[in-house]
Symmetry: C2
Subunit: 199 residues, 2 copies
C-alpha cells in the first residue's frame, strides 16, 4: 500500500521548515507538513516522532562525543581531544549553513524549542564531562573542559552564522579559541601564567 | 485580620525545603507548606507566586550583572569585570552553603526545575553578553566572555559543594580560572600565543 519513498525524509524536512518559517512552529500541524511534502501523515510518523523531531533529529552529539572520548588514545590531553571533536562536528555543518540558519530562527521563535535546545546542550556537556571522568580526569576539570568545549561550539556557530565572512566553522572555532586564550590571559602584561590565579 | 508576620518568608522557605526533601517537589502542595510553617496559604501567596518561586526567588543575577557591567569604568577589561562580578556573587553564597546544597538536590530531582535552571542560566549569559555589547565589545567576544563567566560560576559552585575542602567559593573560582588557563595553553610547549589559533 505505501510504497517506499527513498526521498521522503528530506521532503518532509523541507516542507516542515518552509511551513515553520511561513506560519510559525506552533501553528504548523503534522498533516500540513505531510500535505506540503505530498506524503501521508503515516509516512511522516515513520520518520519523526513529532514535529519537534524534524528540528532536532539527527543531532546525536552526546553519543558522538562519548564515543570519541572513549576511543581516543589516553595520551591525548582533554582540550586537544575537545578541539578534535569540534573539528569533526564543524565539518558536518559546513554544507548546511542555510539550513542551520533557518533552524535557529525557528528555535528562537518558540519558547518550548529553546528549552529543548538548552536541554540538548546540557546533555552534550554531561556526556563530555562523564567521558573525561571515565578516563580518570578529575570531575571539576572534566566539567570545566566540557563547559568550555560546548561554549566554544555555540559561540563559534553564532559567529559563523552572523559574520558569514568566508571562514569555515572550524576556522571560526580556532579563532574563538585564540580569543579565549587572549581574554583569559592575566592582565599583568598578558603573560600566560596559570600560577597567578591563586587565592 | 492577618497581622504582619516579619519572619513569614524564612519560615515558608524552611517549611518548603523540608517538605521538598521529605516527599519530593512534585508531591508537595502550597497548603502543606503553609501548614508546616504555621501560616495561611494566603500568606504564602503574599510572598511567592508559586512553589517553584521558593526555590528560584531572589536570584536576580541577570539584573545584577547588567547593572555591574553598565556602571563599571570603561577602562576595565571584560574578564577582569567578570571575575569582579563572580567575587560579589560568590560572597553572597558563602553563608548559604547547606541551603544551596539542598536546593541543588531538589532541582536535580525534578525535570521542570532543571529546565527552569537552564533558562535562568541562559538569561544570565544573555544579560552579560548584552552588557558588554553595550560597552562596545564585539558581539562574538561578548558572547564568549559571558559563556566563560557563567561556566566558571557553575563549575566552581559544583566543585565548592562537592569538594567542601575549606576553600571559599571565590577561592574556588580563582583556582578554576587558573585551571582553565592551564588547560587552554597550547600544547606545543605551553606558550600563550593567541596567533597560534589561525586556520
Amino acid at each position: 500500500m505505501s510504497r517506499w519513498q527513498p526521498d521522503a525524509r528530506p521532503r518532509l524536512e523541507t516542507a516542515a521548515l518552509e511551513l515553520f518559517a511561513e506560519q510559525g512552529f506552533a501553528a504548523t500541524t503534522v498533516p500540513q507538513i505531510a500535505a506540503r511534502a505530498g506524503l501521508t501523515t503515516r509516512t511522516f510518523f515513520r520518520h519523526f516522532a513529532d514535529k519537534r523531531e524534524v528540528i532536532f533529529a539527527g543531532d546525536e552529539y552526546p553519543e558522538f562525543a562519548a564515543r570519541l572520548i572513549a576511543e581516543a588514545p589516553l595520551s591525548l590531553d582533554p582540550m586537544t581531544l575537545v578541539v578534535e571533536g569540534l573539528r569533526s562536528v564543524a565539518d558536518t555543518f559546513e554544507e548546511r549553513r542555510e539550513r542551520i540558519r533557518g533552524l535557529r530562527r525557528i528555535i528562537r521563535s518558540d519558547e518550548g524549542l529553546r528549552e529543548r535546545e538548552l536541554r540538548k546542550r546540557a546533555a552534550l556537556c554531561e556526556a563530555i564531562r562523564d567521558g573525561f571522568i571515565d578516563r580518570g580526569v578529575a570531575p571539576s576539570l572534566a566539567a570545566l573542559v566540557a563547559e568550555t568545549g560546548v561554549s566554544l561550539l555555540h559561540v563559534s556557530i553564532e559567529t559563523w552564522l552572523e559574520e558569514d565572512d568566508g571562514r569555515t566553522l572550524y576556522a571560526v572555532v580556532l579563532d574563538t579559541l585564540g580569543s579565549l586564550r587572549t581574554v583569559l590571559a592575566p592582565t599583568n602584561g598578558g603573560k600566560c601564567d596559570p600560577g597567578s590565579a591563586g587565592g
